[in-house]
């Protein structure tokens, strides 16, 4: 089988997607890019009541399986909540953050991407005791500079910073623009054997809300959730074995078995593994437990949907700069492509 490749066009698209701002509930920038990309390749495109982009590409032949691929478009970010005057604003978090990633970072604010910073008190003015404690959210502000103008309700996020370095990508919002990029590439190379449904979903980071209605809309026979999953494959400070790495960079797509809100469908887990072995594509099983993806919402759509999550590992989730491996991106893309080609309704008709 001919492998799909990651070339300049794919890098450019991912860069555009990562550098866009799409804080949960305000996904317009990414939605615009997605609509431009999918329209020439889709049979139906619809933007629903929540802002999900729902795409259908019909298969040919008899009785094609109705398969849903989901990737969330939204990212964790900030909302301006109070004007402290003269370009300084209080902000709230949208989605899960470790607030220790916030001080000393560049941000962009609002539709115009106004440049700003989240500053910190100079070390010279801190006491030794201050330095032992975290800088709390209530001490942090977004500063646009004197006279800077944002509006309460404006969204903000970390400043764009996409970079390719050796085998890796460094960027904000790899979670989950890499999933969005994979879906777009699969649509462009859609196998004709399935009715391919795609949800580019909203509001994943604040409770899997977009996927819930997308699952209802499509009523698929099976679903794949394509996301970015944390790789916590760092060395232990005291040299002990790292038992809770979740996933590791470079070992291939991470197939989920279970997380805090989903038992992934064992037939689909097995099918992905079998496909990977057949196609000689490396893969890893994400360590079970914790975390969550849109699978949690999709599996309970209507009368239920067999679902499995498959993710690209990335280090430093929900931080200003995450790191992923290009080979994991390519292998995730190809594993899904190979899997789609092999899918028939029989896969989920018996236990």
């Amino acid at each position: 089988m001919k492998n799909l490749t990651i070339g300049p066009a794919q890098f450019n698209l991912l860069e555009k997607l990562c550098n866009a701002m799409a804080v949960s509930g305000d996904e317009g920038e990414v939605r615009k890019i997605v609509l431009e990309e999918v329209k020439p390749y889709a049979d139906e495109v619809k933007v629903d009541a929540l802002g999900n982009v729902l795409v259908l590409k019909r298969g040919r032949g008899k009785n094609p399986m109705r398969v849903l691929l989901d990737a969330h478009m939204d990212e964790v970010g900030f909302m301006i909540v109070e004007d402290d005057e003269d370009g300084i604003y209080r902000f709230e978090l949208v989605g899960g953050f470790d607030t220790r990633h916030l001080a000393g970072k560049r941000v962009i604010v609002g539709r115009e991407h106004l440049p700003g910073v989240i500053g910190a008190k100079p070390i010279h003015l801190e006491t030794d005791d201050d330095l032992k404690h975290r800088i709390g959210l209530d001490a942090l502000r977004i500063d646009l500079g004197p006279g800077g103008k944002a509006a309460v309700g404006d969204r903000a996020t970390f400043a764009p910073n996409f970079k390719r370095v050796g085998p890796s990508i460094l960027s904000k919002s790899i979670d989950n623009r890499i999933g969005v990029a994979i879906l777009i590439e699969l649509l462009k190379n859609a196998p004709s054997s399935v009715d391919l449904c795609m949800s580019f979903s909203v509001q994943e980071e604040i409770g899997l809300r977009g996927a819930r209605v997308a699952g209802y809309y499509f009523d698929p026979q099976a679903a794949f959730v394509v996301d970015a999953t944390p790789a916590r494959d760092l060395p232990d400070y005291e040299g002990r074995e790292n038992h809770s790495y979740n996933t590791k960079l470079g070992l291939g797509p991470a197939i989920y078995v279970a997380n805090s809100s989903t038992m992934d469908d064992p037939r689909l887990v097995h099918f992905l593994e079998e496909t990977a072995v057949r196609e000689k594509i490396p893969y890893q099983l994400r360590q079970p437990g914790g975390g969550g993806t849109n699978a949690g919402a999709l599996q309970k759509a209507r009368m239920g949907v067999p679902v499995v999550s498959i993710s690209v590992p990335h280090r430093y989730t929900h931080s200003p700069i995450s790191i992923s491996r290009v080979e994991d991106w390519r292998n995730t893309l190809n594993l899904l492509h190979a899997a789609l080609k092999r899918m028939t309704p029989a896969l989920v008709e018996s236990r």
């Binding site: 402290d84 006279g147 370095v165 700069i321």
Partner: protein, 354 residues
Amino acid sequence: MTDILPFLKSLLAVSGLSAYETPAARLIEKQWKPLVDETGFSRLGSLHGLKRGSGKLPRPSVLIAAHMDAIGLMVSRIVDGFLCITEVGGVDPRVLPGTPVMVHASGSGEDLPGVVAMPPADLLPAGKGDGAIGLEYLLVDTGLAAREVSKRVRVGDLVAFNTEPVEMSGETVSGHSIDNRASVAALTVCLEELKSRSPVWDVWAVASSQEEETFGGAQTSTFQLRPSIAVAVDVTFAKGPGASGWETFPLGRGPTLGLGPNIHPFLHKRFIEIAKKAEIPYAIEPMPRMSGTDATSMQVTAEGVPTMVVSIPVRNMHTPVEVISLKDIQRAGRLLAEFVAGLEGDFMEKIIWE
């Protein structure tokens, strides 16, 4: 008035941590060459620019020092392709997680971009992962495989902040190393202003090295050049989020004039007179003990030198997102030029205590 922004931005983009200032020094030398009569380097790496005065020999001289070195990090250990780090200058580890950095890899001579990583709590000793994470537990990740890292990076390699400079509202600029490249820019404004003036005194413009670690650059340059008086140009704390005490000054409303034991009161008074005459806004900055600037060491060099400190307010000092007002840089530069141009031949005879 010349536009200092392009030069400032190029200064903020060039590396030069304490004792490794050469890339910054070369850039500054290029900018200063047309503005001074000669340039040279000190044994510790400070850049000296001499603009000769019009007075009779032997002429008095004023040394104006703006340190060009920057704070940052240094590789202390390499573990599985991750870099352990220590600090160069004073760094608050709490601003580091997620910070973009540039590793100056001496093994291969490359600059490798990377990010400061905060390991999950369960990979740190008990209790060390919950609050503020200490510098010793943070890592730098270059995105390269472990074997590639060990080929390229060595212990002792420099790790600089890599936030790109950006213009913000109110004619401000944000970036790293604004402390103290902004003052180098102000000193450059001063030299440009002096081009059309003809000061009586010799002027030594000094981009000093190693301020953030030892004050050693300015101290040794002062000994070498033996100026009659010396002025340190540095940054001070601007009022802003988290900073509102007596040590802080409004951003964009002029430089500050230091007052305290590191400063000769007669020079302080003269700067106030000059600022008033030139209608340059300023604030008085109380410096009750050490000024924390090059003046601290310049004052006690050789037989002692009358010193002054002029500072430019900056927000978030020593973070990767310092913020400064371009107008304040221009004002500090113009104030220095007015001071220098106004130094009369017998000024030294006027410097009296009581």
